[in-house]
């Protein structure tokens, strides 16, 4: 059990690190949001799952309830985080941000 908790937390940390690198290093707004939205959602889920698991060291009703609440948080993050990413991306698209391409731009926007 402890090993599973440690492994999941480590995986979450790795994904969080990748997300941060992605936000910092990707070339434009859309790809940065891609990193932020996907990485954030998955890594917070990976961090919350071990939290729920960790509560089962002593198996009783109270711990079960806490674990259930943690899982509920995970569900809501899974719903809300991609939607927020979508909303930001949509606003950026409508504001007329040009996606990055490999071709060098001739005229400045």
């Amino acid at each position: 059990m402890t090993i599973a908790v440690i492994m999941l937390t480590l995986a979450g940390l790795i994904f969080f690190f990748a997300t941060t690198v992605g936000i910092l290093r990707f070339p434009d707004f859309f790809s940065r949001m891609h990193a932020a939205g996907k990485g954030d959602t998955l890594s917070s889920l990976l961090m919350l799952l071990p939290l729920a698991l960790y509560n089962f060291h002593e198996f009783d009703l109270a711990n079960m309830l806490v674990a259930l609440k943690v899982l509920l948080i995970a569900v809501f993050i899974f719903m809300a985080s991609p939607t927020a990413t979508h909303a930001i991306l949509d606003a950026g698209y409508e504001a007329g941000i040009k996606p990055w391409t490999k071709k060098p731009e001739e005229e400045s926007p």
Binding site: M79, A80, T83, A87, D90, E94, A95
Partner: protein
């Protein structure tokens, strides 16, 4: 208390505070201020003040950021830059700030250390609350009982302060006549205005859960962190979510302006009314134990618990109405016609 964690959080708080002042873009400043509030929330949690952390998370990081956004949306993103060198006034401001800081640092030396058990408050007042709350009021969460019962008078006027703030916003911003008294630039067009199905669908699914959670926070404040303020703010935030994801008019359809102001009044009146009810029953103002005369099947201790629940509900209603009304006024520029 883990001092390494404290140190990291405090450093980030100071950085955020500086960044909020230095950043020229007001929208960025609002976002950084939200991060600052969230770090404060972490710090409160670290110090064991979970109720305060909850309030900070819902009010500071949540609703006030949205209110800042609404204000920026209606005014401008840019800070007015003064070019002329007013060195004298700047130097004067620096000296004033440094002097005030110096006085505060000197005064801080007189405060007891954090968690010092030999201060008068820790020796006499706190032990009473810690040991006697459950016995006196049958409420396990002593923060709730201190706020709503032992210090009920203070909390009543805190509610009144929030109500007054809402009234002030309405008095300043609300405009009933058609013509503009002052011309502000048109707000930015953030969205082309076509309905976004994904956002609307998810918001529609989430709002009932948010409101249910808010009611849980209000009702469960006796046993866990939370209470009227936090629950009311979350309720108000759910309406703001509706207003942002759908339309301004949807919220007005659910909760018209008349109802909104009326609910703000009703909330404060519930609080004060319960106090007066105690007065009528022959006890002191806000002494809930006398409510056992009219509440069926309660003794004096349980009556205090129920009285607290009553005033928490009043606080929640007032705070919810005021949060919604402040948001609607700011975002529609007081005209209630269109908004974010």
């Amino acid at each position: 208390m883990i001092w390494q964690l404290d140190f990291c959080v405090l450093t980030l708080i100071v950085i955020c505070a500086f960044a909020t002042i230095m950043v020229k873009d007001l929208l960025s400043a609002a976002i950084i201020f939200g991060a600052y509030s969230f770090l404060m929330c972490l710090l409160w949690t670290e110090m064991g003040a979970v109720d305060v952390a909850f309030t900070e998370a819902s009010v500071g990081a949540g609703v006030s950021t949205v209110l800042f956004f609404a204000a920026v949306y209606q005014t401008t993103r840019r800070v007015g830059v003064r070019k002329s060198g007013r060195m004298l006034s700047k130097a004067f401001a620096l000296v004033a700030a440094l002097l005030t800081g110096l006085v505060l640092v000197i005064a801080e030396a007189d405060f007891p250390g954090f968690g010092d058990i030999f201060t008068p408050a820790s020796l006499h007042v706190s032990p009473y609350y810690i040991t006697q709350t459950l016995h006196d009021t049958n409420v396990p969460n002593m923060v709730t009982s201190v706020l709503a019962d032992y210090r009920g008078f203070d909390t009543m006027f805190e509610t009144a302060v929030i109500f007054t703030a809402g009234l002030a916003v309405i008095a300043i911003l609300r405009r009933f006549k058609k013509e503009d008294r002052c011309d502000l630039p048109e707000p930015y067009v953030i969205s082309a205005g076509y309905p976004d199905t994904i956002i609307r669908f998810v918001a529609r699914q989430l709002v009932p859960f948010i409101q249910l959670f808010a009611l849980y926070v209000v009702a469960h404040g006796h046993h866990s962190p939370g209470g009227g303020f936090q629950g009311g703010v979350i309720l108000g935030a759910s309406f703001i979510l509706l207003a942002i994801s759908y339309d301004f008019k949807v919220v007005l359809g659910i909760m018209s302006e008349r109802w909104n102001v009326l609910l703000g009044n009703i909330g404060v009146l519930i609080y004060a009314g319960i106090g007066f009810l105690c007065l009528l029953l022959g006890a002191n103002f806000l002494d809930y134990s006398m409510l056992s005369k009219i509440l069926p099947a309660t003794d004096k201790i349980m009556a205090r618990s129920h009285g607290m629940l009553g005033i928490e509900i009043g606080v929640a209603i007032a705070v919810m109405a005021i949060v919604i009304s402040i948001y609607l006024n700011i975002v529609s520029h007081g005209k209630y016609d269109k908004g974010l």
